[in-house]
């Protein structure tokens, strides 16, 4: 229920316009949103809806063309590199393709060490750092002794994605953006990834924002769902409201187009 939890990350009129010569593309069109602490939010949209651009703006990787972003109730200010670094202690991301998220020339230890450094652990003794990394790997059911000194391509897709989650465990951000975290993972491993993310949320009270095209995924894990089409939020509300009682035509079509098991999947609507 709104008002109970604090607004953690919100935006008004957020816009991103890409210009190339005379042409301009409006990727994100004046969106309003309000994410509360501890919530699980999903932004559902098809490819080209602008959800990845929105994610990049939220992360501070892309500069918005218009609108405001509010972080912890105050206007977000990430003008200088120092402020950006500070911001990134509170907000992190998991990407869709686990393999391309790693630098293939560095061993996987580097990724975890970077996180320890970011939390100020640069001067910790080696043994303590190994302990932290082992703990993080243990959380995602990986054994650090087996993974240390390996290169990313020596791990499977599922292991790579779980290592990304271990990274988040080390950083303990207040808000995590997960961009299609399971679309490149097999069906049997999906539940594992989702489970771990939920566990993380429960342990540290993290807010999670899922960015996905899979409306079923959105329904199974989220509290709040936003439906995005052509850069705009066409519908939003609690998961039950949006998925079981959709109001907008686009939302209805999106739900109707996904195959069902216990309900009838009507093919005549295309």
């Amino acid at each position: 229920m709104p008002g109970e939890k604090n607004s953690y990350l919100s935006g008004t009129g957020l816009t991103k316009v890409f210009r190339s010569g005379r042409q301009k593309t409006v990727a994100v069109d004046h969106v309003h949103f309000d994410f509360h602490e501890g919530e699980v939010i999903s932004i559902v949209g098809e490819s080209g809806s602008g959800k990845t651009t929105l994610a990049k703006m939220l992360l501070g990787l892309l500069k918005p063309t218009g609108g405001e972003v509010y972080f912890q109730g105050k206007k977000r200010d990430i003008g200088t590199r120092k402020k950006k670094k500070e911001y990134w202690k509170s907000i992190q991301a998991i990407f869709q393709d686990p393999f391309s998220a790693y630098n293939i020339f560095h061993k996987i230890d580097a990724v975890l060490l970077d996180c320890i450094n970011m939390r100020g652990g640069r001067h910790l003794p080696h043994a303590k750092r190994v302990e932290l990394m082992t703990e993080a790997c243990g959380f995602v059911n990986l054994k650090f002794e087996e993974l240390t000194n390996k290169y990313p391509f020596e791990l499977s897709g599922g292991q790579q994605q779980r290592l990304m989650i271990a990274r988040v465990f080390l950083l303990k951000p207040k808000i995590l953006l997960a961009d299609e975290p399971t679309s490149m993972i097999d069906a049997c491993s999906r539940a594992t990834i989702l489970d771990m993310l939920m566990q993380l949320r429960n342990e540290i009270g993290m807010t999670i924002v899922f960015i996905t095209h899979d409306i079923g995924l959105a329904y199974s894990v989220s509290d709040v769902v936003y439906i995005m089409e052509h850069g705009r939020f066409v519908e939003s509300g609690s998961a039950d409201e949006v998925i079981l009682h959709p109001k907008e035509t686009y939302t209805r079509r999106l739900i109707a187009d996904v195959p069902k098991i216990h309900e009838v999947w009507d093919l005549s609507t295309v």
Binding site: R81, S100, A101, N103, F105
Partner: protein, 416 residues
């Protein structure tokens, strides 16, 4: 990394190019250790000595003589003195005399001489022969008589006391010397050039210089190209605009013209090999910059770069750790191409006379320049320019082959 290196050395093209290059390098390194002469020493008084083994005649007189009875000695002697024109003339006379043509072989000296000896008679009248021609045949016959004699030669020297010419020694036609016992023998496999310099020694030294120039030019160009490309590709914005502006200026001005102008203005005095190399480097970085920039632009939006940013790394760290390794293979190939083009550019400059100073070190281009100025092609002195051309071709071919081999390893899509 190890896996890539293993694959590189399995690529046929790369191995071929690498072996040629290595062979040239080894020659370049070991030749000066064996033959310690200065490359620009003018050892020949006279121009364009043909390739061969040069034996000191004075020493061969004084060396121990050995008598060898060889069958074809006389024939060889005469064969070398009888020009092709003379042989044709002899054949014409014999045919006119009535000998069937198919019995005459102008290349078989012995038989030809026998036939001539048996049939020639100055008094025989041949139809249609002019007086001049008759006299020519007479002269030919007399010289042949001289050749056919088996008399030796007498060497006379000045008696240091009386000042008169005295008989000192005799040399028979069957006297031979062992080259190994002659103290002064010099093999000039490629003869000498117009200045009388040993072409082979000069060539090896020129190869070394040209390679060095190519390397320096390549490094300068690649470094400039890499830095500018990385900065303009990753940072973008105003820096990108400025760098692209500079690049465009350098594209519009033809680099070779620019090189000529710079070379000319530096003046003959200051044009050392190293200076030229740096100048070449400074005018050929454009292509590398563009290529690196394009690669960097496609890399900067990758997930691992974003992750690095989220992990708080600085711009320099991201460029060096997340972008540079990914374009490293490309840069290596660009470097090889720059070296090869540097060598060619220097050759081009030197042919025009705008290359490094001519008095210090030879370069491949300079050798070609001299050959052209002193008209070696017209005079038919092939050893002054053809070996140079072959070496230039081999070096650029081997480098390009290595490049293609590397390309196939780094771009599996190109493998056949």
């Amino acid at each position: 990394m190890k896996h890539t290196i293993r694959q590189v050395f399995r690529s046929g093209k790369f191995l071929l190019g690498f072996s040629i290059f290595l062979a040239l390098l080894l020659i370049m390194i070991f030749y000066p250790l064996i033959i310690k002469d200065a490359p620009l020493a003018m050892i020949g008084r006279g121009t364009f000595f043909p390739p061969g083994t040069y034996v000191n005649v004075y020493d061969s007189i004084g060396s121990p003589h050995y008598t060898l009875m060889l069958d074809d000695a006389a024939a060889n002697r005469i064969a070398s003195k009888l020009s092709n024109d003379d042989r044709l003339a002899m054949r014409d006379w014999l045919v006119a005399d009535g000998i069937p043509e198919n019995q005459i072989d102008i290349n078989d000296t012995k038989t030809l001489l026998d036939q001539w000896e048996n049939n020639y008679d100055p008094k025989k009248q041949v139809e249609g022969m002019t007086l001049a021609k008759q006299r020519y045949y007479l002269r030919l016959n007399t010289s042949l008589q001289g050749l056919l004699s088996t008399e030796g030669v007498i060497i006379a020297a000045n008696n240091p006391q009386s000042g008169a010419l005295e008989e000192a020694d005799g040399v028979a036609q069957t006297d031979y010397v062992n080259i190994k016992e002659v103290p002064n023998v010099r093999v000039l496999p490629l003869g000498t050039d117009n200045f009388g310099r040993d072409v082979l020694t000069e060539l090896v030294s020129a190869l070394a210089t040209s390679l060095k120039i190519g390397l320096v030019a390549g490094m300068v160009a690649t470094l400039i190209g890499l830095t500018l490309g990385l900065l303009s590709g990753y940072i973008g914005g105003l820096i990108d605009d400025i760098i692209m502006f500079i690049t465009n200026i350098f594209t519009v001005i033809p680099s070779f013209v620019l090189l000529i102008l710079i070379s000319f203005s530096i003046g003959q005095e200051h044009r050392g090999a190293f200076t030229i190399a740096v100048v070449i480097g400074f005018t050929s970085w454009v292509w590398t910059t563009r290529a690196v920039r394009a690669q960097v632009i496609s890399l900067r939006n990758r997930d691992h770069v974003n992750l690095s940013k989220l992990s708080g790394h600085s711009v320099i760290h991201i460029i060096l750790a997340d972008i540079l390794p990914y374009i490293a293979s490309y840069v290596v190939m660009a470097f090889i191409l720059q070296v090869s083009s540097g060598i060619l550019t220097e050759a081009g400059l030197s042919i025009l006379g705008l290359g490094p100073k001519t008095t210090e070190v030879p370069t491949l281009g300079l050798m070609l320049n001299w050959a052209l100025i002193y008209q070696a092609p017209t005079l038919g002195k092939w050893w002054a320019y053809i070996p140079v051309i072959v070496i230039i071709a081999l070096i650029t071919f081997s480098m390009n082959l290595m490049n293609t081999g590397l390309d196939q390893v780094f771009n599996p899509a190109l493998r056949d």
